[in-house]
Symmetry: D2
Subunit: 346 residues, 4 copies
């Protein structure tokens, strides 16, 4: 039995982690950590858990938790884990961090985009970027996993094959991303009220969103050249789901069939990445509640561009599901264990 | 391995049956029956199933299917199964009917409300009304299960304890029900277009909805007196979920605590019925994707009435999940097998 | 030119008042009052007003405003106006109060339901309940209008004809009401976040909602007997709209045609109340953005009950539109002036 | 009194035309044309019009209508008007065509993208592209107005100033557009059912959408160079609204302030185009129900690109509102007449 603790269990990503882990018989959640709800029943914070979870929320004392847990998930604000992590913790437990603290290798880049000083840069080198489709082997031996961001997961998986194969100009990529509102978290803000989001769509963080350096870094590894992207996220009136529509200039003439063959080459053994047939475009509803990413790419000969698309559930493959996928790898379990959820439609 | 066939697999209830059964390793779906999509890939009808189901749709020949299947689910229009059922089929396989064909014991009542002649009334007597919380033992030995309607499931489970205990006047009950739009099916009708349903709520079928006699019959069994209800369904802009708000006149003074104790008495061992604490009101989102029904009742002393409330997912406990629960009972399996899904929130 | 001031202009009802008044050429808004946004541009609070309103928010000093305004609208929390109102204000300006401070004639009832001491009960007698369809003549001469609540407006107009005619048992009435989320206001609360409301429906305030005494008082005037109601409001995933489904026991046998004739008798000259034909049920989308209330009633012979339904836009006829209708009456203008908005569909 | 007829009045754009024209006292709708609902009450097709419109639908005989009407709006399928238009009609009445029949000057381009033969190409030259912000003077004297498409209106107004000023590379433009579902029309299709659209977002028509040549032609006029665009429309779960996010490579270094100054130069006298301040991004909800287009542009120095954004109501400025704006110009009326609707929020 794997003993798991969740620091930040009362946010949406934390709640989703609980949902996924509670459906397993080989994992026990021993710690529902929270800053705001200590001593309150977890099921009073998430009534969907009523009669499923009887625990009350504990504080976020990661040092105490490290004594007891085989794995700790931190679904916490930026900088939180970085301010606490130490050798003792890492010697006693595995840590899967859903924040961005250890995602970016260049600490200067991190500090510039996140506008904070990194308190424990000494662990950045060791941390493994937890995108199993790219880093499966490294993940297996890691102590510290930097679980990827939601937009980066969907963007990278949509674009990676063509950038890796050198088919797309690394300076041409434009990513227009659309996210459901759970990505904005459970904090009580006027901007996220039902009446403000419903029947509305907007762009935000144009050119300055903090997922930009994360996407650029990972794609640059694939390209062996610096990749610079334009990235615009949008808030969409739905609870879950991210859709990425990415545009890249083709470096040579290539047919749709060749493009498809490349995606198949990269993903044919990847359970969680589904390359759609023909010109079928990904839809977020087709992956809701599951760990799948649906991708496809369409060549636009008129403009010599390729449109690369991906859809996933931001709380599953974009956060909690991917964290569980990483946990499976860390513990030598089948990667799909507990994650073969069929998407819920409608 | 239980071999299961689904007639009507391309409607929303059929799709949900597939979703639930595909997550099990002891059931194999051997027949995706369809009227409109024969020979088309099932995953092209439900793209969420892509790379999960490779089968194509078969026709709806229940006689051929009965030769091969251990259990047949019929998620078909009213009158369809009634026009085909025969002894041969019932001798070879179990049948779980998600239509209303065998739910109502009085064939005259059926024919009056459904405005059609019942073709095989000889099987009505034998059919077991598949609400496990009321009829668990009978279900275990049945050949033919009449899987309850969505509104009836939620209404009966919300009201039954108080009617059974004789606390509520059987002629006083008013049920105001609200359903997500998946209850209206996948047929292409203007009334169910996104733009017509979104930002809108309406009542429909006032006083004439066909679930009325089904609810009245089952509550009358509990009451040992004829129960006559007012029932008004409403269409709500959401995909899934039914909320029942039922009003009954109390036959004697009773406290909220006593009411709660009665619900606990009936449901304390029922995994799928959650009696909420205090005055917490059920919310459909708290049960989405799961087989739970959340119920609660609040006494309104001023009016001498009790407000009985229930929330469930119309496609799960209201259709496919309940059918699987019945299948589990039919095959001597643990009743919760494959149904311990944690509700998805948000 | 009527000079109008709005205290509480930055809530949803205040914003709707601005929307309606800005479309008129005989009214000038001279005061956008606010507690939280003083000195900020009103159009930065409501970006839909950009380039339409250039004013900044002022404070909520009603005494200063009374010197300048011909009419003051107070869209403020309960008890606010009651704590400030005085003879000087009322001698200088008309006041249309969108809060509940002066709606209920029995101060003890008010204090019991609202759980606060009424600071200026001396104005309750004088205040006119601003439902023009019932109190048109009194409104014309008033200084202080108690603008009705959203649920009461829809409930009373749906039920009044039958209670007035003595056809419905005054102790039998059950009102099941459904509201869009704008009724919950613009305050930043977790419960009203998009992800908590979307794909969800729930009852709230069962038996204790503060609109109950208001509805009972007005219906009792019609009945000449005490009316006691069961009332359950529900939160629905849509921005605007209230649907009322009310149930009453008929005191004698009456046909649907007779019922319809009664509604026609009461409303045939009422521009804003539309009695729907046949068994057509009201839909909130059909009145969105307009001052209409659509009503209809269906007799259920089986149960000897009548189902009375009404739909309206909670921010228009349920708040700002009705306030403007009252303003028109107060100033001797045509009642429909500025309110002949065609509902927006879809 | 202007006598107006609407051919295709029962689609969403036709219904919106009725909504806008009914609020005027200088226009009379004399013809509610329909193919499917002849002799049925218009208010039974659009119940929001109940007690506002008493007319029944007439057929779509444009020749008869031309005898009576001062202006005819055709909100009809592609090719419909082109198959009927003749000199007699144009000699008797003004025609404002909401279809694409006369939008594209090069008939070969039209026939290639629309995959149909143009029946009356002789009128293409005469037809004026009815985007008042670009073609105001020509519109005033026209007989035949080609009312722009929804995506083109929003795209062109968002991009035009920078392409006209030569600041953006005409071959670099990528338009990622998002539309509410009313853009898909009122036809009963499974893809547009509530349950299929809700909680979902997808791209469609990637690289092949028929609005592409329309946008390219108009931008090319501005550029004096051929403009070739990538264009990807998306279906968003909301009724109304289009958001355009367009990306262009800057031909020289330019500051955000300079960019803003250019937009102000083009739009400072345009009532319906609102250039937002600072880095505020357009939101569709801020323009809902109105004829406004909100635009803004943000320079991304890292990538040397500019992100140009626009939001509007697809049924108003994207269809019916613009048609009314054109009608005003055709009849020498103030351009904003009947269109000074304040956006509805929330």
């Amino acid at each position: 039995m794997i003993k798991a603790g969740i620091i930040g269990s009362t946010g949406y990503a934390g709640g989703e982690l609980a949902r996924l882990l509670l459906q397993r018989d080989d994992v026990e959640i021993i710690w529902y950590g929270s800053k705001s709800y200590v001593d309150q029943k977890y099921a009073s914070v998430y009534q969907n858990m009523y009669k499923i979870v009887d625990d009350s929320c504990l504080d976020d004392n990661i040092e105490v938790l490290a004594e007891k847990a085989d794995v700790i998930f931190t679904a916490t604000p930026q900088g939180y884990l970085a301010s606490l992590l130490n050798d003792t913790i890492l010697s006693k437990t595995k840590v899967i961090d859903l924040s961005a603290d250890y995602r970016i290798k260049d600490v200067a880049v991190y500090e510039s985009w996140y506008k904070m000083v990194h308190k424990t840069p000494q662990y950045i080198e060791e941390a493994v970027y937890g995108l199993p489709e790219l880093n499966r082997e490294k993940i297996k031996d890691a102590r510290l996993i930097a679980n990827p961001g939601c937009y980066p997961t969907c963007s990278i998986l949509s674009i990676y094959p063509l950038i890796k194969e050198g088919l797309v100009d690394p300076l041409s990529i434009i990513i227009d991303a659309k996210s459901g509102t759970s990505g904005a978290g459970r904090g009580a803000k006027t901007d996220n009220l039902y009446c403000e989001v419903n029947e509305n769509i907007k762009a935000y963080g144009v050119g300055v969103h903090r997922h930009i350096p994360e996407i650029e870094e990972q794609l640059s590894y694939g390209s062996n050249n610096p990749v610079t992207i334009s990235f615009t996220p949008h808030l969409v009136p739905m609870n879950r789901g991210i859709l990425v529509t990415a545009y890249g200039t083709l470096k040579k003439e290539v047919s749709s069939e060749e493009i498809k063959a490349i995606y198949d080459k990269y993903y044919k053994d990847e359970y969680f990445v589904r390359v759609l047939k023909d010109d079928i475009t990904p839809q977020t509803k087709w992956v809701e509640g599951s760990n799948f990413v649906d991708v496809n790419a369409i060549v636009d000969k008129r403009t010599n561009r390729v449109v690369m698309m991906g859809a996933m559930d931001n709380l599953v493959k974009g956060a909690a599901g991917q964290a569980v996928q990483n946990m499976n790898l860390l513990f030598g379990l089948p990667e799909q264990k507990g994650l073969k959820l069929v998407p819920m439609f409608p």
